[in-house]
Amino acid sequence: MSSESSVSNSVRHVMSEVQAGWTPHRYGVLLFAFLLAAGMGPRFQVFLLTEFMIVALFALGFNLLFGYTGLLSFGHGMFYAGGAYGLAIVLKEVGPAIEAYLGAGISGGVSLLIGAIVGMLLVIIIAVPVGWLSVRMEQIYFALITLAFGMLVYSTIIQNPLDLTNGTDGIVILLGSVNIAGLEVRFGARRTFYYLTLTIFGLLTFGMYRVINSPFGMVCQAIRESPARIGAIGVDVRRHRWAAFIISAVFVGIAGVLRAGLAGVASPELSHWSTSAIAVIATVIGGASFFAGPIIGAFVFLYLRWAISRVPTLEAYWEFFFGLLIIGTVLYFKAGATGGLLALRRWASAFLKARAQTGGERE
């Protein structure tokens, strides 16, 4: 079975699900269509939506490890930083050389691509040993050691090793441009970057969807449910967790590359545990047990924060709300926002059905 045919099988499956009714797949496609159109909207919203997609990717990658494999990491910011700094360093150190070599026409795009690849490589270089060491730990200790590793990376970045990271100030990023048939496409332009992000968001979300539903993903879930049993069935739990860790890290790394592009800077705070906490907050609020949880959680995180900031009296209180939301979700409503939406849908369809019945003949 070649991977090409299974991709097309996947696409066909999604399409059939979309046509079958109000399935998650349909909502996903609708979301994508909405995002496609929204890129033409007001500039600030475009910015906010770009940020949403990036945080959603961060959370999605994080949730492969948390919601699906059962490992809570408080250090995933180190991969966010890895991607960001990979891009930043390439653009700063190698960018001019690329431009000189390839000319201004395509060097912007090439630099960006190389930067992204280096970012991913950097992330993998960090994730492999850190993952191998960390998966030896269970539960809270895993959270603690990942937190420690994340902070270690943070302290290292601040040190300005090899004079590459520019310490606490971070590295400023200027995305270049490419010349396509006489038209200059500036990557740094809001809408351009938005559509770039949207493309990657779409591809990665689809990719994660496939990973979750693959044999690999199913085993991840089994590990979450009962590591002892899955071991007794013949699976090397540690090795599998390690693999999940690395895949999760790569997703977050790509999000980091995009983050750096959007913010225009790669800064050490990305590796701080408080940044890692963003993925945690978004995922938990959204509902870690759902595929869409991280995405919806990221949306809630960003838009609730933005909405609260619009109301002058409430402006500073967003942390308060999120603190309450987290506590409320973990204690009383594990299904999170996604669960809430599903419940809403069920209620809505039941309501509509009841209305239809009373509107028709009495039985």
């Binding site: 809570l72 408080f74 060491l133 030896r136 730990m137 269970e138 539960q139 809270i140 200790y141 959270a143 603690l144 050691i145 937190l147 420690a148 590793f149 902070m151 270690l152 302290s155 290292t156 601040i158 040190q159 545990w273 408080s274 906490a277 945690v280 907050i281 938990v284 500073a316 209180y317 967003w318 942390e319 308060f320 999120f322 603190g323 309450l324 939301l325 987290i326 506590i327 973990v330 204690l331 009383y332």
Partner: protein
Amino acid sequence: MSAIDPIPLVSFADLIVGLSLGSRLFLIAVGLSLIFGVLGVLNFAHGGLYMIGAYLTLLVVSIGSGNFWLGVVVAALGVGVLGVALEILTLRPLEGRLENDTDQLLVTFGAVLIIHEGVRTIFGSQSYTLSPPTYLDYSIVLQSGQIGVYRLVVIGFALAVMLGLWLFITRTYFGSLVRGTASDREMAGMLGVNVRRLYTGVFFLGSVLAGLGGALSAPLQSTSPALGDQIIIDAFIVVVIGGLGSISGAFVGAMFIGLAQSLGPQFISSGSIAIPFLAMVLVLLFRPRGLFGGVAE
């Protein structure tokens, strides 16, 4: 007054600074460690409690009589009560799935956000400083530097607390309950120990200590809403290194971190901030129970 430096490599003054840093860390870490040892909960919000201790002291000093020690008492007890409220509201509902479950980390992290926001709302984002009580606000001058007398007082407090805790845990009935429950929770419950009340009691004790630590620290550091986040990570490191539930471990760990932070930059020109994290990683990998695992050892 002057004296000859006893330690050639590091100045005595720096040593004292490190030990006073360690003393403050000890106060917050030992409470965290006890709570982890007995309840199995790693209270993320402990840094926030420490921070509230500092703010309450500031509040009492700036309004009312201005008596520092009154502020300390109010802070310690106030934070104790707050800690109990926290335990009842966020951890009780998790009863039965407390141990080693990441839910407790999430829930106490939610509390961190609330506390952080609460403090910011009430006190604002600026940082405050406080001078030690005037009769303690002077320094002993040495050849190498000055030693603030207040720092010596703080170190004294830490030693007193450690002694007091040790006596409390080994000599009192409550202490024996703590030790027993820490080593076997289920057994304790079956033997008729009112585990719920014990949990609340230990949480109260741990919170009081955190509040005390925050209060005593107010004259030594600037107090701002960022304080909680800063200190909790150090506290985690101390608890990991020292061992969960170990009082002496918390002491040794705290002093190690305190000294590393004050003396580190002298030995390693850059990168000393990485030392605590490196130590944490190493301990987790090779001696996850900490250097002193166990209660009241």
